[in-house]
Symmetry: D2
């Protein structure tokens, strides 16, 4: 089963809804680059276009957006770990059930999908994709509730895990977020209509105004006439994904009601407090660690520098599913600025250390450029366990911190010193109470139970 780490965008009551969605997805491109799709309803006339690749490529032909007419649209940009059968997995999905069309775009990862799928198959449901998103559609279709909103609520009561979902019916978008609120989902206003998006940076691009988050556990039906909000689930403790703040979301976004940039800077400041070191300059791994590096510099008083140049004609390291490119050479993505590094004691800040392979190679490059000392700092704690709620991570075995101590890791990386932010330091930073976050990947303690799998699947 794939992990759907993705971006979603919806527009209601807005002429040219597809074009807005196109630009919305464009600014959510960092959340998934494998495929993209948009579906529209023009007074019930449904049009769908999906394809592999970046949003700009999938919608390259202007005739496509022309065809996607109507004032209601949802879109999806997707990242996944699987390859072969991926075309059938491109979202949004569209089904017909009882003469009604229903489309879905999903960000997240269900934790009881195997159980649900088996149950559904036992009742005769057939599956045409390998995505857990299809399960939700089956559950909605099997509901006896007449109204789509009610059927969706009934369906969502049986699923567990992380989801920020946009459904599209012929005359509405229905936005739903799981009771823990793992993934962000924001609501905005624009030109008398509504928009919903994974992150607020999508609102900025189209010029929409942020109203509020879709709340954890909320299901909102959005039509051109307004909002209808229900809370079908029992109230549960929140579990916002802290990794969205650390790495995944864009720094110019506001998610979980806080500016990402602000949090990231605090993480950098706290890192400087926890792991000070004497050095000449502090540099970050561009671009994701830029803000935390500024925080480190501010707190420590050590000069901020640009010591690494990123070649932006490749995708983001973490997000590229093609193992070969990542391993081929870190130099394809980064080059050192010799004049900056030569003869310097350098602190290098990164947002996180996953496998450690990229960090190791970067440290080597930085030394080759003449740095006399390299002090590596991560603005998050050691990642010791995978994410089951929608962030794509390697298996536990591949996570360097799952098997190596800080000292061992430092030695492996070839750094002079290594410092990770502490879990407490990370959580103490923020306006929200520490228990509002999911920090499963740092602690191995997961807020929502995950169904048992056999070894093979666990490692997939």
């Amino acid at each position: 089963m794939m992990r759907d780490k993705c971006g979603v965008f919806g527009a209601v009551g807005l002429s040219d809804a597809a074009r807005l969605t196109y630009f919305g997805l464009y600014s959510l491109q960092h959340r998934g680059q494998e495929s993209a799709g948009i579906i529209t309803s023009d007074e019930g006339k449904i049009e769908l276009h999906r394809g592999m690749g970046l949003v700009s490529r999938v919608f390259k032909d202007p005739a496509i957006l022309e065809r996607l007419s109507g004032s209601i649209a949802i879109g999806h940009t997707r990242y996944s770990t699987t390859g072969a059968s991926s075309i059938t997995n491109i979202q949004p999905f569209l089904i017909t059930n009882r003469q009604r069309k229903l489309a879905i775009a999903h960000n997240g990862n269900l934790t009881n999908s195997r159980t649900l799928r088996t149950e559904l198959e036992d009742k005769g449901s057939i599956f045409q994709t390998t995505s857990d998103t299809e399960i939700v559609l089956h559950l909605v279709a099997r509901s006896k509730e007449e109204k789509p909103l009610s059927a969706i609520c009934e369906a969502l009561k049986t699923v567990t895990g992380a989801y920020s979902i946009l459904f599209m019916t012929e005359d509405s978008v229905i936005a739903a977020r799981d009771p823990q609120g793992f993934r962000p989902l924001c609501l905005g206003k624009f030109n008398g209509g509504y928009v919903v998006a994974s992150e607020t940076c999508a609102f900025d691009l189209v010029g929409a105004e942020y109203i509020r988050d879709i709340e954890p556990g909320e299901v909102v039906k959005i039509t051109k006439d307004g909002l209808e909000s229900v809370f079908p689930h029992q109230k549960q403790k929140h579990a916002y994904c802290i990794f969205e703040y650390i790495y995944f979301a864009r720094p110019d976004s506001k998610i979980f009601e806080e500016n990402v940039d602000k949090i990231r800077r605090r993480l950098g400041r706290q890192l400087a407090i926890e792991h000070p070191v004497e050095a000449d300059i502090v540099i970050g791994i561009p671009d994701s660690a830029n803000t935390a590096t500024l925080g480190y510099s501010e707190e420590s008083g050590i000069k901020f520098e640009i010591g690494l140049i990123r070649n932006h004609y490749v995708g983001r390291t973490f997000i590229d599913p093609d193992q070969k490119i990542r391993d081929l050479d870190v130099r394809v993505k980064f080059n050192t600025v010799k004049g900056v590094l030569e003869g310097k004691r350098v602190i290098v800040v990164d947002d996180s250390i996953v496998r450690g392979t990229t960090s190791k190679k970067l440290i080597k490059l930085i030394r080759e450029a003449g740095a006399t000392e390299v002090h590596f700092r991560a603005s998050s704690p050691p990642i010791i366990s995978p994410c089951f709620y929608g962030i794509d991570m390697p298996t536990k075995k591949e996570l360097i911190a799952s098997s190596k101590s800080v000292e061992e890791t430092c030695k492996y990386l070839g750094a002079d010193t290594l410092g990770y932010l502490s879990v407490d330091g990370m959580l103490g930073m923020d306006s929200l109470p520490a228990e509002s976050y999911c920090v499963g990947c740092f602690t191995g303690k997961y807020p929502v139970p995950v169904e048992p799998r056999n070894g093979k699947l666990f490692l997939e």
Copy 2:
């Protein structure tokens, strides 16, 4: 709902099953040119490739057939009347149900698909295509039978209409034909394994030996170890599609246990008996009417000539779904041989007259080439009603014989005389009893009831 007029091919117990299937589909290309697909099982490892266009184009990249490893395969080549949503409709379809993979390739047209689909949707089934083939999958998935063969038999008991279906499980191909036997389906042997195909011309290409037809109402499980045959339906009167003989099948095929070429020639001979006329030469519309024209020439003693040249870089008129190309100009497909036609009284034989528009234009071309008389002959009776069992035809209104008498049609076409083969003449030709055939399109009397539809759908 589309009409799936298609070709199917399957191979079991044969290394390189995909390559055999590729060549099999290649020789069934005349049965559908819109899309093609092959699915294989390599000891349970399933690989699927599908695409729009001719078989040779869909499987252009040699790496594709390499990837489709295994000794079991089924393939499909498809023609349809719809355009927009066609990509999701490309067969074979593949589903997972209770951890088991099931694929399907279907030639035919169900007559109770609306009813079944509504029932299934009411029970919570979701539909991701507009093809009636998907209904069969849902029915199989909902069966309580454990064994695939039993589940398939149970499912097929509830569907009516025309179908020659190949299912593929991880270790078998299951071939099924409806109790009336509307569409052909043939079984062959090759290198110790088995092949199944819509027509025997596919056996000839790969060098396989024809054994027998899959019988009407028979469901056969084919594994590398042999055949397991069941007859789940009550015995019913056969209804072989006579149009397969007249036009659709290739003349070098044997279907319904008879050589197509032989039948076609008899139709031409009988046409000469029923509609003799004094003339200098007899020509056929290439290529489909060639054999009937030879029959007419033999019986009448009038000299056979090649008076029309076909440009083979376009598809077959009848089969091309793009209305614009067909209407643009018949001259794109045919040119006259002036030296042959000039100053001659010409008999023109075609296999059938559908709308009459092409015939009218051809007659005009033939006159322009200098023919002094043009006598048009159809080696089939007037088509007065559409086919509901899988042959794509225009609506009743568009069928010229549904509203015009023979005299009116002759005048419309601009022919000097016009003669259609009689229904009795057509049926009297053959070794099988007349009542074994479906002649619904010529008589309006259909052997299997068709569910009521609203006017719009009936005319689609």
Copy 3:
């Protein structure tokens, strides 16, 4: 150096000249299927589109023909023996010289291209293609003549060999044919404008009227205002390619002022006179041998039958440059009609025997279908030497008749008897004097000397 065996079409003084050219090329598709291109002049605004593949594919996007505006156009469809560098070789070629645009589309093969190319390179000309057509452009550009017609005439005086060329300037098409007239080139009228084409079948498709051939040695400037004809060369003996009649041209065309169909039928009749044999039926290799087979049947009184079915979803055997497909299996292209062949003594007529490999396989297939005797007949003499004037043939070594006697060939083919048409019989058939034809491939005596090449090139 490649041999440009191709089709050309031009239109002058005709609105929508590109569309006419498109359809013209379409009907000349049998002359070359590797690439196609059209260039237009809209009051001096030049637009060019070229691509690999069939005409219908290269001009698939309707926007392309829209862009190719103007009342003057030339087009080219090309077959070649080379692969790798083929994209740069797609015609028409376009150059700028002294602020003037000149385009060219060429059918034929120059015999002094190596010499000319070396001379030009010595003078500083640079070559960007491997086509001999580029030489003609250089020669025109180096002419001191001011007027394009004069410059072209001067250039053509230095080249020898076979060419039917269309040039396009900003306001004219200039059509030129070599003094021997190896390749056909026809002039037609349409809607007050002019068309030129390799064969008249292109006129029939667009509805144009044939006026006359561009004469051997003639260079005609065609503008919207009329024709300006010059004969720059010394008069020379004609050398019409007899192979155009035998195989290459379409039977519905008129070339060299004679109907192809009529000549082909005479070849078949003469073949029956020269090589009679007792048999039950006579069949032809479809489609090229159909007409000759009818001639054989008429003369011999032996019944004409259709014993082989051609799968038209592949290209013509002779014309496909991909050795692998041709050798893979003749069954991809042909299937036998068993009911026709079973128990029969069969005469098989083909237009020619080149390598003999296809014939050998076909004879095997025909025997497998039950023929008791197979008598093979070729409606042309043994091909003993390659063509240097634009027909693509294998090397001398690969030509079966270059090394094997008729008896040896018969044995190799596995036929009961084998008969070739005699050279005298072939030439005696026709209204033109025998010496008007090039029969170099049958006699090894070439009407125009070919420059010496080293062994390697000769065998290319």
Copy 4:
């Protein structure tokens, strides 16, 4: 005539030369994104691959690099202002002249191309592209010199303007740089072979070691055995393009023997000296102004901040040839970080102001994000005149500084204050004497005369 602003890379004496060139071009991608190509020589066997788009796309299929075998290669990545005929303009170009192959990859812009082209056309040369690079090939081909190096030297003596050219013969790469040295060209060593590249960042990626620049006016023949250097031109005053330092080159490159990063930082420092202002933070337009912004921050003591986020899934503003995307919305490329800007007095540093349209929109965005004051600073002087030596710029009329004073521009941009770096300040920064640079675009005084053109062409 296009301006070829491009990146070039060559490799000699290195197995897998194409792969090295691929990675070299990859790191030069910022110099041109419209097309890319690589040509190789494997002991005289030449292979060429070219295509439209990014390097990674053009060479996506691994089979391509496999095919490009050999130890000698040159490559080109290109940006151009034209669209329509662009496919024929993709470099490297390859010609044959006197049985010898010669390939070329060119970065720069000739200033006497019109004159040369007319002369060449008068002598009978034909042009198949619209690129001035083709002129050089003609000149080489027309040289009477036997040896390629001599012929190239002779040819280059007649051209004026900017060029850094790589030629490839069957056994060498010949690198040439114009006497003024407008564009960079660097020589490196790797694994016993040689590499040449537009910028040293290409050496870093492949792991090569920088040796020295190809000197202005130098022509170097590079073979596996070593270097042969000649200086065919009279010595002339250098005219290094200062804009390479300001904007065009990558900050991690060393060009004109100086680190780009170091120069850019000095420009920022000097800017702070010349145009101080009281403010809370200083931000740069990412990524090109990052380094200058750091310099400004250091010098002024005002806090460096990241106030704008760039969406890297689009190309660089300056370099994108599609006017529509640039004008559509600057928000597609940039978003503001509200938490950083809100309530702040902001200094915004950009590398240059061209049209001013992007700056104006960015200032508006920054104000919308809550900045109370916006002080705009350019780390280069006002651009008042276009570049004729290979940097693509709009026409003089479109350059905002050509018609507006600083005050008018400030008002147009909507900034509180505006400061440009002075020409003297810019030149005073550097180790090289001020007169070594071309500053034509800032002063209108051009070091090499440009041939007169008609008004239309001047404005193209």
